[in-house]
Every structure is written in C-alpha cells, then in structure tokens.
C-alpha cells in the first residue's frame, strides 16, 4: 500500500501556525507581486473565490472581509520540509511530489493497521508542525490520489481513507468521479473520452487497456491498470497537477560532485521550462530539492529543499535556471552522496495573466518579447533536433530581484530578525 499525504490548504495553514487568529477567517495567499490568489482557506472558498483569480478583480466586499497575504515562500519551503521530515518517521519511502504532497510507501505493513497508522501520522504532523494533512491509502498512486480526495472531502473518513483495488467504497467513489479529476488525465483527453462515452473514472477503469493505449496513450493505459489496483506508474513519469510542474530523477550512481548536481538541475530546469511553456503557464517560484539514498543507513543522510521566489511570474528558462542555481547553492552540502535532485515550479498561472507591474518600462516589455521569441525558438529547435540540441548556458544576472510583498508575514523560521514574537 502507498499513501498520499496532502497538506490541507498548505500556504494558509502555514500562516495560521504563526497567527492563530487567522483560524476560522477567510484567508487567501497571493502569487508574487500580489497578482492572483494561489491558496485559499475553506472560508475563502466558501465565499466563491476561485483559484488563480486576479486580486484586483475580487469584489470589494470580499476584499474587505478576507485576509489576503503576500506569499511567504521562505516560510512555506521550511514548513514543507518539516512535514517531510515528520513523514520520514513513519516510513523510509517518502517521495516528495509537490510542496504540499508526498507519497509514503507502506509496503509490508498489515493492511488492517493502516487506518490507525494514518490517524497517528495525521495527529503527529499536526502536533509537530501545526499543519493539518489528509491521508489516502491505496495499492497504486492513482487510487491513492482518489483516496486522498475522499479523505479530505468526506467527513466520515476523518482525514484518512483507505481504498482497496476491489470493494464497494472504491466502486462508489470511482463511479461518481469525473474522469478529468483523475491524476494524469488532461482536460483535452477528457473531452475525447467523453466522445466515446467515458465520463467517470469507473468507466475508464472498465475500458480495454490495450485499445485505450492505441487510441490515446500509454499513460492512459497505465492509469487504467492503476485504477484496477496494479501499480504501473512511476512518480517521475507523471506530469504533476495543473498547479505545478516537477522534474526530478535519481542519479544512476550516487554522486558528491557539485558539478554533476548543477548539470542535473540545468537539465531538469530546461525540461520543466519546456513543459511550462507548452501548457501556456508562468511560474511564481522554483523549489529545488536534493536528497541522499534513505536506504543506505550506513551513509550520512541529508534531505533538503528550498523555495526561491521569482521577481515576477516567468516562463523564461533563464529566470528559472538562475533561481534554481541559487537554490542549489543554498542547500548543497559537501560530504554527502546524493541520489536525487529535482526542480519544482510552483503556483502556475496562465500566461494570459502576464502582469505589468508599476516598475515595468517599455524596455522591460521589449525584453519580455525578446525572451518569448528566444524561448519559442529554443523549444522549436529542441523539438526538431532532439532534446538538448540547444542548451542555455549560465543564466544572466538578474538585478530586478526585489519582490513586491507588502502583505507578507515575517519569515518566522528562516531569519533571526523575523522570529515569531510572543508576549509573556
């Protein structure tokens, strides 16, 4: 069995840990430069505020009621790490899947004990870090996603849901789940599936895998196997949720060489940038993570991640590479043998939301157009001549690093001068 552990309204929950007064209030977190809403408390969702909604378009009544905060990526990155470390107490198989989600392997545990374990995990993460999480157990990743969703939305599960490959709960959930809600099924694929009468996850599960592979893709075939309870998907083949892009890979052999890590990061950023532009998105922040092999217990263990916010949302690989390099520099430690590095692009927004900020000049607009043309050319060449036909060298120095973040809370966990102050 594998568990998907997902932090509930993660950014908002992080803010609430350090400011309990936010409990029960509609709270939203804004993307960099306070552009769009990228995280919402349940109360804000109830007011009808949508993910990605532009802040200046929110009705005044909502702006008055809600607490809207600038994103505090230093804090979220640190809290994310604390959650991951806590999860590692429960299993050595912890794979970070996004800033607020991890897959945790529970192979070999008695299935009958899993729900109790899940409750203890939830309670421990809540106590140690203050972050509420939901836990979905299932034999495969795709089903674990479904289980997690149920754990979060259906109150009788109390935050922990276990789905077996067969069983009335699995059947009932899949029957009412639109196929487009499934992990890995894109909206366009969903539209094509609807044409052949497949609307729900259950209908997809019952479809012929081989035929679906021919008609659609090998990924869709794998999703069908996963829905039937047979693991077929590796984390690294999966395109992440629409809100983020992750590219990571394990090294063929462990390495301590910073040059190898930098090169791996460069490649990951290049791929992530392509994906980003292909889906027409921009990213607000880049998360970089490294880890050693958690199964080599005789080796020193290290696992670290950091989030580097961008000055403004971007889809330029050079911006991403610059941020990722800075991130890697900040977390790389000598003396460890690294097994895996990865990059994650967070809080994607549609590039139609491309914002001009007040300090933008005609010059920067011209820069941006040049950057768009350059990236489009690079992507085209790489498509036609093969991956890495054109590589980007050292990223340019970016001086415009000042973020607009008037409503940002203190970086409580990463700056001495911004520690939480408590009245005695």
């Amino acid at each position: 069995m594998i568990a998907l552990v997902d932090c509930n309204n993660f950014y908002v929950s992080c803010e609430r840990v350090f400011n309990p007064r936010l409990e029960g209030l509609p709270v939203g977190v804004l993307s960099n430069n306070d552009g769009c809403v990228v995280a919402r408390s349940n109360e804000l969702k109830a007011l009808g505020v949508k993910m990605g909604e532009a802040m200046h378009l929110l009705p005044p009544t909502i702006r008055r009621q809600a607490v809207l905060l600038s994103s505090n990526y230093a804090l979220y990155g640190d809290m994310s790490q604390r959650v991951t470390r806590t999860l590692a107490e429960f299993s050595p198989h912890v794979e970070v899947y996004s800033i607020d989600e991890s897959f945790v392997g529970f192979q070999g545990f008695d299935p009958a004990t899993l729900e109790a374990r899940g409750q203890r995990l939830r309670q421990t993460v809540q106590q140690w870090t203050g972050i509420p999480v939901s836990v979905g157990f299932a034999p495969t990743r795709v089903l674990a996603k479904v289980a997690n969703h149920a754990a979060k939305k259906i109150s009788v599960y109390e935050g922990v849901c276990r789905l077996d490959a067969e069983g009335p709960a699995t059947r009932a959930l899949l029957r009412q789940l639109p196929v487009t809600e499934l992990w890995g099924v894109a909206r366009r694929t969903g539209e094509r599936l609807a044409l052949i009468g497949i609307d729900t996850a259950w209908q997809l599960r019952e479809a012929d895998p081989k035929r679906m592979r021919r008609a659609f893709s090998v990924v869709l075939e794998r999703i069908i196997w996963e829905l039937r309870g047979r693991p077929a998907i590796e984390l690294d083949d999966m395109t992440a949720a629409k809100q983020q892009i992750m590219v990571s890979r394990s090294f063929g052999r462990l390495t301590s060489d910073p040059a190898e890590l930098r090169e791996a990061i460069r490649q990951h950023v290049a791929r992530a940038g392509e994906k980003l532009r292909r889906q027409g998105s921009m990213t607000s922040a880049v998360m970089v993570f490294v880890r050693t092999n958690p199964f080599q217990l005789d080796q020193p263990q290290y696992r670290k991640s950091v989030v580097v916010p961008l000055a403004r949302p971007s889809d330029d690989t050079r911006d991403l590479a610059h941020a990722a390099n800075r991130g890697l520099e900040a977390i790389f430690l000598k003396g460890y043998r690294y097994q895996k590095v990865g990059v994650m692009l967070l809080d994607l927004t549609a590039d139609t939301h491309r914002q001009l900020s007040l300090d933008d000049t005609l010059q920067s607009e011209a820069d941006r157009q040049r950057s768009q043309r350059l990236m489009a050319t690079v992507d085209k060449l790489n498509r036609e001549l093969g991956r890495d036909a054109v590589r980007l060298g050292l990223p340019r120095k970016n001086n415009a690093w000042a973020l607009r973040c008037e409503r940002r809370t203190p970086r409580y966990t990463t700056r001495w001068e911004e520690l939480l102050r408590i009245k005695l």
Partner: protein
C-alpha cells in the same frame, strides 16, 4: 537552564532515522550497532550546541520573548526561546499556548482537577483554563539570552 527533563513523545510507527540538523551528519550522532569500539572514547567531535538544543528539527522552532511575566522562570524580554512542539504539555513545563487566539508563554500547573497557566510573577494572577479557547503550541525547552558583549 534545562530544568525540564528531556522526555520525548511516543515513538511512532516504523522509524528510520533521518538527518538531524544541516550541520550534523548521522555518522556523528551516535547511532550504534553491535559492540562499542574502545576507540570511541578517544574519538572527540566538535560539541554541537545546535544538536544539543534541537532534538527534533521537524518540530523545533525559535521564538522571541516579549515582556517580563516569566522572570522567575528565567525568561526575560528579548530572550530566544527554543520550542519543541513534539513534547507533551505536562504540568510543570513552560508552554507556548494560544489563549483566545493570542499566543503566550506560561507555566502549566495543575491544582486538583483544574489546570492553570501560571505566570510565576507576583504581578500576574494564574489564569484558569476552564471556559477558554486554548490550543497548546509547544513546550519551551531552552532559553538563550545574550549578555553584554555577546552581540555579534
């Protein structure tokens, strides 16, 4: 300073040890299997104050004290407090607690069936917890105060 006995929370599930702090490789943290080597006694390492004070990095936070109500417990205005959220709020411990939404630091005390937050200062009355909305945030385990000359 560390008058609190270092009790730890319940061991949870199947645990693999993960790295302590950034500066502390596992090798040096005393995980041993089999017989201790006699050479161990002569193998001195740097004394790592961070590792001594931060037993559980995932659950340990540094916060700053404001105000003087905890004088008698040796906490002064401006002190750095080390707070471990994984510890249980047992009577006698100094805890960080949200009372009606505001975080404060007090010693937890139990008299008969009732629990109080005690300020340990004659100027402050004990606060009974009954009927208030409270949420324990963590247990203060250490205090670091900078004395004259100590500023960097």
């Amino acid at each position: 300073m560390s008058w609190i006995s270092g009790t730890t929370a319940d061991v949870v599930g199947h645990a693999a040890s993960t790295a302590g702090g950034v500066t502390q490789p596992l090798l040096g943290s005393g995980v041993r299997a089999g017989f201790p080597s006699p050479a161990d006694d002569h193998l001195d390492r740097d004394i790592d104050l961070h590792a001594h004070v931060v037993k559980r990095p995932a659950s340990t936070f540094f916060v700053r004290a404001e105000g003087d109500s905890m004088h008698e417990d040796g906490i002064h205005h401006g002190d750095l407090m080390v707070v471990d959220r994984s510890l249980e709020p047992l009577p006698g411990r100094v805890i960080v607690i949200a009372v009606d939404g505001d975080l404060t630091v007090k010693r937890l005390e139990r008299v008969g069936q009732r629990t109080y937050l005690n300020a340990r200062s004659p100027a402050f009355q004990p606060i009974p917890l009954d009927g208030r909305e409270t949420q324990v945030w963590g247990v203060v385990t250490h205090v670091v105060r900078t004395l004259p000359g100590g500023q960097s």
